[in-house]
């Protein structure tokens, strides 16, 4: 299972105004990073229902990234605060079901931080790769 070719499956749910724009900027600047993350665009990180995260891990995601605007920068004033608050809850939930909570990550990347998006991608893929395949997936198999 953990052979060299194993690649993690990571889902990123990212906000339209900051992180998605930052990711686009990384593209424009041709910042290279590993291709293991699939992004889902929402208007605001406040949209992220804990259900989405549990659903993804239930489906066998190895890692999950939620990314929004910096505090104070939210396009919708405070959606990112509300999202960040929920992350504490979800991280506790993950630990309770026996998942390493490092598999879930929240970051704040602004529309001008293309380079930071690249770093986040590198770091998330590295962290999840080190953690190995999700035990949930193993159990299902």
């Amino acid at each position: 299972m953990t052979d060299e070719k194993w690649k993690p499956k990571i889902i990123a749910i990212i906000c339209n105004w900051c992180s998605y724009a930052g990711a686009d900027l990384a593209g424009g600047a041709r910042i290279q990073y590993p291709p293991d993350v699939r992004a889902i665009r929402v208007m605001c990180s406040g949209r992220v229902d804990p259900l989405f995260i549990m659903k993804a891990f239930q489906d066998g995601a190895d890692g999950m990234l939620i990314s929004g605007c910096h505090f104070g920068d939210c396009h919708y004033l405070e959606g990112n605060y509300k999202c960040a608050k929920r992350m504490f809850l979800v991280k506790t939930l993950l630990k309770n079901i026996g998942l390493d909570d490092r598999r879930l990550r929240m970051t704040f990347v602004s529309a001008s931080e293309g380079a930071k998006w690249g770093e986040v991608m590198e770091d998330v893929v590295k962290t999840v790769t080190e953690l190995g395949p999700s035990p949930i997936k193993k159990y299902e198999r």
Partner: protein, 674 residues
């Protein structure tokens, strides 16, 4: 999960974008793969999907295959979603039946050396987009009327130009300025490069114009307190700071007909409090009741209540007819409604004294460029005689330190960017010294002379030919001779490749500029992002340099990045034009990403009410139950309520939970390798 009533019939269109996409992943493989996906009836590829033939392919395919959903795999939806939505609509579908798969910015361009990885990612992205597309529903954009008024924040040359343009286009424009007068930085300048026009002479006509334009509502000594609403319908609360002086209109409203301040200055003469005048960079005094300079607009005195001792002498001097002074004045608030806003809040200088090695504020004869402007200005504290602050002597050798804090990656107060106008104002200063002081020599220590504008390079040659000395190299430090107060500049001459030490009578630092101290507060109020260096972020650096990511908010001048006067005025006119479009069209269409409540699922718990930052949600009684109701005009579609609703009763249109779960499932459960 909600199923779409009809059988999905989706067309997938993959763009090569020349070699932008096709050079990093296999279009052929992605296309063949897309054809196998459930619900996809046609897959096609084309060189440039956004071109007319590309769009025609989509339109024709919708008709030919009776599609009910369109997926385009190409660039970012932030770029071309509107284009393809229009094409979808032209094909006869509701434009929200379109979904975009970003395989360029977030794939081909960032995985240029991983053909296989990029191709797999593109397949996944397309599969996820198709999964969402299967569940898309018809939506109708909401049209809202636009308030026939605009707000311009900041009355420097940019703000004034924007306000004049808007007002001349027939729009009621509120021009709000924090200081007691309009004019901004440009009114502090002596001459403007490269034409050597007197700055005040070309600016005051504009200042007078904004004062008397019938469509401009001038609000000086006023700050923005709160911003609510959205494009077309902003409600802005203004704080009119206590000025302590009534203008004739205010006086008349209080019954003092013919009263109010007429700018005579009798009050200032008797005022016993003396403070440095910030307009003169602290080099001249002002009273506690003051005007900055004779050309202020409006010509109204202002009381600085921080230093006023309330002795009442000014009240007596003003007299019982005018009754202009009110020592008990308090801040007042005003609520205005505007359709669009322009931010023109300008810039500040870095605290250059923190660069201890250059000795500003330690050595008397080290001054900044702006202090030089006031010293050389005929209306300045020395009536235009350039003197050394230490002894009042005329300097003969003047050193200029260019890039003082600009283009410097070493951190601290230093800035990595070019402040753009310092090279040119230093050249202008050099010219002025040689013009005004016979035999004086300016020495310019520079990294590069950036004479980028029209007739700028020619001006550079002129100053060279007039005898200014140029030394290419950064200044390491400056030391003062304690007896003569002369300064020695230590630098490296990088052209000769040797260190130099030169004694100067005076040194001028071309300090770097930085965003205004209150820019952070203002941009958060208006919902504008910032660039990495703190300047306000434009919607697109090339194609939308005046807009921001918040619809209805526009930028002009240095708040977006350092600019000289011509560029500021040009951007202000651009911003005014952009800001007038929604106002003149009378209505704007809002994307219908509203929250919807399913009454059957809603338990009426009210958790969502507190989450909504816009107060768009309310609990109502309906058929004997308490349920939530959405006011669509207030809902901006963030989805924070939908992300929390414990009962799953809230549907976020176009970003529904089933749609997002379908994307998650599509990636994790339906991939080729699972």
């Amino acid at each position: 999960m909600a199923e779409t009533k009809e059988e999905p019939r989706i067309g997938v269109f993959i763009c090569h974008c020349g070699t932008n996409i096709a050079g990093s992943l296999s279009i052929e493989e992605v296309k063949n793969y897309a054809e196998t996906l459930d619900g996809v009836v046609v897959a096609d590829e084309y060189q440039y999907m956004c071109s007319t033939p590309g769009q025609t392919k989509i339109i024709d395919a919708i008709k030919e295959h009776n599609l009910n959903g369109v997926v385009v795999a190409a660039c970012s939806p932030r770029l071309h979603e509107p284009t393809f939505r229009t094409a979808t609509e032209e094909g006869g579908l509701n434009k929200f039946r379109f979904e975009m798969a970003n395989i360029r910015e977030q794939n081909a361009w960032v995985h240029m050396h991983d053909w296989e990885g990029a191709t797999i990612k593109a397949k996944d992205t397309v599969r996820m987009a198709v999964a969402k597309c299967r569940m898309l529903e018809d939506l109708q954009p909401k049209s809202v009327p636009v308030e026939h008024a605009a707000l311009v924040l900041g009355a420097g040359v940019g703000g004034m130009q924007a306000a004049l343009d808007l007002a001349s286009a027939g729009i009621k424009t509120y021009l709000v300025e924090k200081l007691p007068t309009v004019g901004g930085r440009m009114s502090q300048l002596d001459k403007t490069f490269p034409t050597l026009d007197c700055s005040q002479c070309i600016l005051t006509p504009k200042m007078v114009d904004v004062g008397r334009h019938p469509n401009i509502e001038l609000r000086t000594y006023t700050e923005v307190e709160k911003v609510e609403g959205y494009i077309g319908n902003f409600t802005v609360t203004l704080r009119k700071k206590a000025r302590g002086v009534l203008d004739p209109i205010e006086a008349e409203a209080l019954g003092y007909v013919g009263g109010g301040c007429n700018g005579c200055g009798d009050c200032s003469e008797v005022c016993p409090v003396i403070k440095p005048n910030p307009f003169e960079m602290g080099m001249a005094p002002r009273k506690a009741i003051y005007i900055y300079h004779p050309q202020v607009m409006p010509l109204l005195y202002t009381i600085d209540f921080d230093s006023c001792v309330k002795c009442g002498l000014c009240v007596d001097a003003c007299g019982p007819e005018k009754k202009a002074i009110d020592l008990d004045a308090v801040d007042t608030f005003e609520e205005i409604k505007v359709g669009t806003c322009i931010l023109a809040i300008g810039y500040d200088y870095i605290p250059i004294e923190e660069k201890r090695e250059w000795g500003y504020k330690q050595f008397d004869n080290v001054i900044t460029g702006l202090e030089f402007e006031r010293l050389i200005c005929a209306s300045g504290p020395t009536t235009g005689h350039l003197i050394r602050p230490s002894d009042g002597q005329t300097p003969k050798k003047v050193g200029f330190v260019l890039c003082a804090g600009s283009r410097d990656n070493t951190g601290g107060v230093n800035k990595p960017y070019c402040s753009r106008f310092c090279c040119m104002y230093c050249l202008k200063h050099a010219h002025q010294i040689m013009e005004k002081i016979p035999g004086a020599i300016p020495y310019l220590f520079y990294m590069d002379i950036r004479a980028f504008g029209k007739m700028y390079e020619e001006f550079y040659y002129r100053v060279q030919n007039e005898g200014a000395k140029f030394i290419r190299g950064r200044v390491a430090n400056i030391l003062e001779d304690p007896t003569t107060k002369n300064l020695t500049i230590y630098a490296e001459d990088t052209l000769l490749g040797r260190p130099v030490a030169m004694e100067m009578d005076m040194v001028v630092l071309a300090a770097a500029v930085q965003p205004k101290a209150d820019a952070e507060k203002i941009r958060q109020m208006f919902g504008v992002s910032k660039s990495q260096d703190g300047w306000l972020l434009e919607a697109h650096p090339k194609l939308n340099p005046c807009g921001t990511t918040t619809a209805g908010i526009y930028l002009a001048g240095c708040c977006q990045g350092p600019k000289d006067v011509p560029d500021t005025v040009a951007q202000a006119e651009g911003a005014a034009s952009a800001a007038s479009i929604p106002i003149h069209s009378g209505e704007v269409q809002l994307e219908p990403y509203f929250a919807q409540c399913n009454d059957e699922l809603c338990a009426g718990c009210g958790m969502c009410i507190n989450l909504c930052p816009y107060g768009a949600l309310d609990l109502i009684e309906k058929n004997g139950r308490t349920v939530m109701e959405v006011t669509e005009a207030k809902c901006k579609g963030c989805g924070t309520c939908g992300g929390f609703c414990p009962g799953g009763a809230i549907t976020m249109q176009h970003f529904t939970s089933p749609q997002i779960c379908a994307q998650i499932d599509a990636f994790l459960l339906k991939g080729e390798d699972y």
